[in-house]
Chain length 298, copies 4
């Protein structure tokens, strides 16, 4: 099949290579001309604009958008909306908010364009060698593009999940679970670290990956991380986050689902961004007022 | 009435003054001879040992223990156990664990000694001018000492709560609630601090204390604190804790009562004691492994 | 001063009575004609439409909107926006989202209308006899309406908090704190309830209100509640919520402020709305799969 | 090697079979004579008492205790302490509290007996076919029994973790992490369940196990569970717990490690044991008092 790939960053470039390796033709565009050139050398047909990319595609045209979520995705999809026609297909493979995908699908439908929202998990490595893709959109049109997903993912590593938005929603919830699992693992190692015992963390991660209930890819990654830096002495415990964890909590609040673990995982990340907190100052001030407990001066 | 006061720290000394002001006779002992001397000058009869203190008391002897909870309280009460006789009274006014009070009461009963566990809230100021006291112990014997509590506390500021241990248990839970309230207030001010608005916190605390649902002594204390240091610039947000919050959570776990708010209040205090966390390092290392997200080096 | 009151529900009617008692003239409108009539009998000038209400006001016209937050408030303010002129004043006294207030103020300013967002705490009783009001809006124009707030609130029970939106934001955070305080108190009583002791809760609330650190209006209300139903046997523990707690958590997420206590207070409310949870089913199913732990059948 | 197995419940029996399959000789005892007989038929040497079991073992005698943690384990180990001599070995393979293991090891050492605490993860299936074992105890003596662990576990599925107690501590923390992971997964499915989309949960679990970041044995188990009961309609969401999660939180409190996720996982389990809560009643009563919000009657 022929796919137009818009956005050749780490994810888009690796995905293109993955597609070509499975004998799909890729028409590639990026605002960065070097990125286009590099991919041309690896077998893609280059394009210098989205308009040119669309022209080079055969009907039904398939445009895969792999640009940062938010304004840029909005801009690209709006442009595609003008250039594509009935029966053509837009795939948003980025980390868009599911509400945006629902809205964009509705707009695309007005012109008879099929819209698919594809959430991807597995990182760059996954984009290149096979990841896990969660796909929302028109069920009937999906038959047309399913062969792509069969080829580029790990075995059974894709799911048509339902109506437009369901792919990004599922990816969002996946990341919420990921936040919770990561924090659970991290708390566990923190308890080990402060205990009276002297554990070899790499060995701990290894044994947990051999037959225990918590064996998982995340624990495998911890084994790998500890093999490089046995006590993580070199790094700081600052936990950044992208949007999906926050969106999961916001969705949970909208749906009135109690998600204490996912919410706390996110909040402990926020906490790690601060050296000192106003919350702490208020509590310290209160303790000083009623109990005469000394405050620590700056 | 005549009371033997053992332990003349901030709480014990203020309590003694409060007692004497209400025409009770105080026999006072502390390992710190200066403290004894000072109180003698204020009207108390001094003693140089617990043995001497007990000798100076008339039957039924009332010994009020006001020393740090734990080993020291254990030691003093054990000594009193040997010196007192049937019908005498031990009052433990410290912050003892309620299980210890239950145990000590049982032991005292074997000799016919009455044991009272008294939890106090209200700080030094309260000890001097009237606090809130929660009292567990023998119901019938309580009639004998009730006049003391009527005199030294604020109006309605004492409660015979039930069997031995119930006083310290009630005080423990009071402190658990206190932790939760303080953290709730602190989180609120933290949201204000990070908002787009520019609030005058002293004025905020003042208005909240005039007619709002959250009006409380703690908000009054915040008004006082902000009047001295309007943005708490001078202090660090390190939140220490004494034992009662932890005991409340431990009791909740034993009783299988979900107490997320009290538990999290305590855990955020622990979090504030650390500049960096192993939890954070583990999460940062994981994000680096699967997503190539850069870690912050030390 | 003369005030046009739009919305004569519990809050608006009580507020009108309060205003008239302090010698302010009230022009009153509600879609419910009975409500208008009742207030006319108590001294107000009635109006049969917002248009009529505006006509009956003298310059600068002051319209106080006291209708349910959301669509209805939007509709009323839009209508006022068309009817009022430069120098006139709109007061939104409902529980609007602060972002809406910021937006409405900007729109009002285009026509030279002053907009004030007023968050109120204290319930119906407060509306009638004096509450706590947190006010955002144009600082200079505030001087004109300040006498109203001085009259109708408890002493020091109003605060000009800053730019438009700051009043509703402050009220929102107040409610977030309220959620946390309430959950803290409730957890404490739950620990007492499951303990080995047999407490008289009304007496507990009373003693806590006499000299303890947690003395507060909320504990006073608990004393009142327990005086009517000593063990709350008659009611179910279903905890509903209006929007402000949720908005506080959402704002905290946007501002990256960790607010575990406020978030958990809200989530435990959501939890109380369900008899059984899908979360619980998943965990029970997992335990069955790996450990052979029996599940409870429906 | 020759091993004396005390306790032939699900775990002990399966472990014995596993040992014999790897050409180890098993002397087996249980208070249940049927269990002994069954195992004799499968190749073990039976014993009618712990004393007889010990007599039938050759020096250095290895006694593996596989009875319920707590009083029973205490009793059995005390008996073994009397029967064994210098150089003999006690293995506690149950879910004992690590503090008990530290204490028992110290006592065993007084007589020159080696003590090992072995935490096992992997369930019955693991006991039979290879699990994950975390082992604390005397390092030098471990060389003598290591071949057993090499034979009966999955590849790399055992770890000598350190001094006595470190095995059970590690197992405890493992379970704490397990609680957090399970709750995270469950919250995610709950958000899916309440969403506007209509997911096939078995398919969701399957796709997540193919290439996603959260792929893990627990998600595999969810796929299995959903294959049997697609929406878990037949079961109730009651989440029981054994002791390790609670011990992890208690240890975290002792060590002042903030573990919000593990703590909340546990507390949501407790919450699931109750149909109605006193916490909820208190909050509902408060809302009624200050806001006139109707309570739900029983």
């Amino acid at each position: 099949m022929q796919i137009g790939m818009i956005g050749l960053g780490k994810m888009g470039a690796n995905l293109s290579l993955n597609l070509m390796e499975h004998n799909h033709a890729v028409v590639a565009f990026d605002v960065n001309k070097e990125a286009v050139k590099t991919l041309e050398e690896q077998g893609a047909v280059g394009a210098h604009s989205i308009e040119e990319l669309v022209k080079k595609l055969e009907k039904p045209k398939v445009a895969w958008v792999m640009v940062p979520a938010g304004d840029l995705t909005e801009k690209v999809i709006n442009e595609l909306q003008g250039l594509l026609d009935e029966g053509d297909i837009i795939i948003d493979g980025g980390n868009s908010k599911y509400q945006d995908s629902v809205r964009r699908a509705e707009k695309a439908h007005q012109k008879g364009i099929h819209f698919f929202d594809v959430g991807t998990s597995g990182g760059m490595e996954g984009a290149r060698n096979g990841a896990c893709m969660m796909i929302g959109g028109d069920k009937e049109a999906f038959a047309h593009i399913e062969p792509i997903f069969k080829d580029i993912n790990v075995e059974k590593g894709y799911l048509y999940a339902g109506d437009a938005g369901s792919g990004h929603f599922l990816k969002m919830v996946h990341n919420g679970i990921e936040y919770g699992m990561m924090q659970a693992i991290a708390e566990g190692f923190d308890v080990l670290e402060k205990s009276q015992f002297d554990y070899d963390y790499e060995a701990v991660a290894r044994v947990w990956n051999n037959g225990s209930v918590i064996r998982s890819w995340l624990i495998e990654l911890m084994e790998r991380a500890f093999s490089k830096d046995p006590r993580l002495d070199d790094i700081r415990g600052v936990m950044h986050s992208s949007g999906e964890g926050k969106w999961t909590v916001e969705s949970a609040l909208d749906l009135q689902v109690p998600t204490p673990v996912i919410a706390l995982s996110l909040m402990m990340r926020y906490r790690s961004l601060e050296d000192d907190t106003f919350t702490g100052k208020v509590v310290a001030a209160l303790r000083n007022e009623f109990g005469g407990h000394a405050v620590e001066k700056k």
